[in-house]
Amino acid sequence: MTVRLGPWSVRLAPRALLVCAALALAGCTVAVAAVATGEYTLPVRDVLAALTGDGTPAADLVVSRLRAPRVVTGLLVGAAFGVSGAIFQSLTRNPLGSPDFIGFTAGASTGGILAVVAGGSAMTIAGGALAGCVTTAALVYALAFRGGVAGHRLVLVGIGVNALLLAVNSYLLTRANINDAATAGAWLTGSLSGRGWDHAVPVAVALAVLLPVAAVAARPLRMIEMGDDAARAAGVRVEAVRAAAVAAGVLLSGTATAAAGPVVFVALAAPQVARRLTRSPGVTLGASALVGAVLLTGADLAAQRLLAPTQLPVGVLTAGIGGAYLALLLRKERH
């Protein structure tokens, strides 16, 4: 479907638009449900009143201070993981090219653990995670670089670095004192509990800056999926696009990990689900962001309610869902 206006023309895929609208609706529904329910259930009317600033003080505390920041952080982190995963899967032409498989998330964990051991505050841990993620990405990129970075080499080097970092992480945990190890262990499963606005804001800023970058890079990224030569022949500046996309993807997964810990599988699953839903060839950033957001908030809601009053960290649930999904994906891939 083409929309033309004077010299402008934009191509739209009706199916993708429909899917995105449905996902946005699902995201809103999950968000409202997560804010309204819990140990203390509120009618939707009270939730809306609290959000617009004229609710009762009690409702205001529960909604604006406790639940809303957690849900918003979940939506933003999910979106960031989704986009980051879409970028790297496109660059590597491989679902296993997600940031949680090629070492970036493990690197963020290393940074986070080191910050915990150094006795850091929540903010230091976040900073450590971001630094760890960026450093690892730089390392993987440098090791995989041979006059350009081919996708499969990025995956292979990344998987190697990932294994190495996981070993380092285990070692660090065994060496840490018992309290630090417990704190770090909790952080390592990935969790949204106790997240406040100060966790949401950095992710929101990262998304605001990097989503437009990713959106502009999406078309050339799709060209690069056909091979470097084919893309260059069509006038794509392959190295520049790739560098920009890598930077955006690393920073997104880094800030997301900093906010919620290394929540696994969202970055892997979101782009794959988005592609199957929209049936569009190649990278689908918008839909991936939405699927990521719905997936993470949905999983978090389930993690809070499934075994209530016991609260599971969301990372446990995404790992469970993701593991099953991955097995399914690999099964399908074989034939």
Partner: protein, 267 residues
Amino acid sequence: MTVSRLSAGDLTLAYDQRVVATGLDVAIPDRSFTVIVGPNACGKSTLLRALARMLKPRTGAVHLDGSVITSLPSKEVARRLGLLPQSSIVPDGITVADLVARGRYPHQRLMRQWSRADEAAVAEAMRSTDVADLADRLVDELSGGQRQRVWLAMALAQETPILLLDEPTTFLDIAHQIEVLDLCADLHEAGRTLVAVLHDLNQACRYATHLVVMKAGEVVAEGEPGAVVTPELVGHVFGLRCEIIEDPQTGTPLIVPEARRRASAPA
């Protein structure tokens, strides 16, 4: 003297440590149908990739319209010069029409994604490569020959005055080979400059207006096929003993390999 929009001087071409060619000088005559032939691994694709700025030469430079090609904006080059690489990757789940449409990339911008010119170019490219009937099929699910024609359609949709084709006839049956070469000849007659790598010497002689013969990274002969192709040259370049007769259809050289003398009769 012939004029050349596209030429290369003193090229050293190498991958990492492996030097493929040194001191290579090539000029593609304007409005020619230039065909490059040579044995496997002699550097044909490498030369083509260098001409299309896919490969940065160690020394020397490629010139397009008088400028060093790498100094020109990437999309600008892509509107003048197109390349069909020897192999490309089919993105998962893409339809023929979508893939061909990607050839329009250099003509598009973020806010001009699909003009009427794009539409017309894609339709024409699909028609001339005989893939219009496949428009809604998934490229993954096509035969090798159909797929090759789709890639060719994508290169054509780019509508460049200069078009480089690396083995455009691979995977094609004999009828489609001739069809593609006839299509190239039509494009050439319509004023485009074509450069193609071909393996079939007889086809090369039939269609080329300018033949470039390579061996081990060097151009050993170039010119009009009738003046260039001799049994000595074929023997020297391909190590093949042959006889050359006149093609009964076109009068161009026709290479007839010498039959291997039968070994002793089976016992």
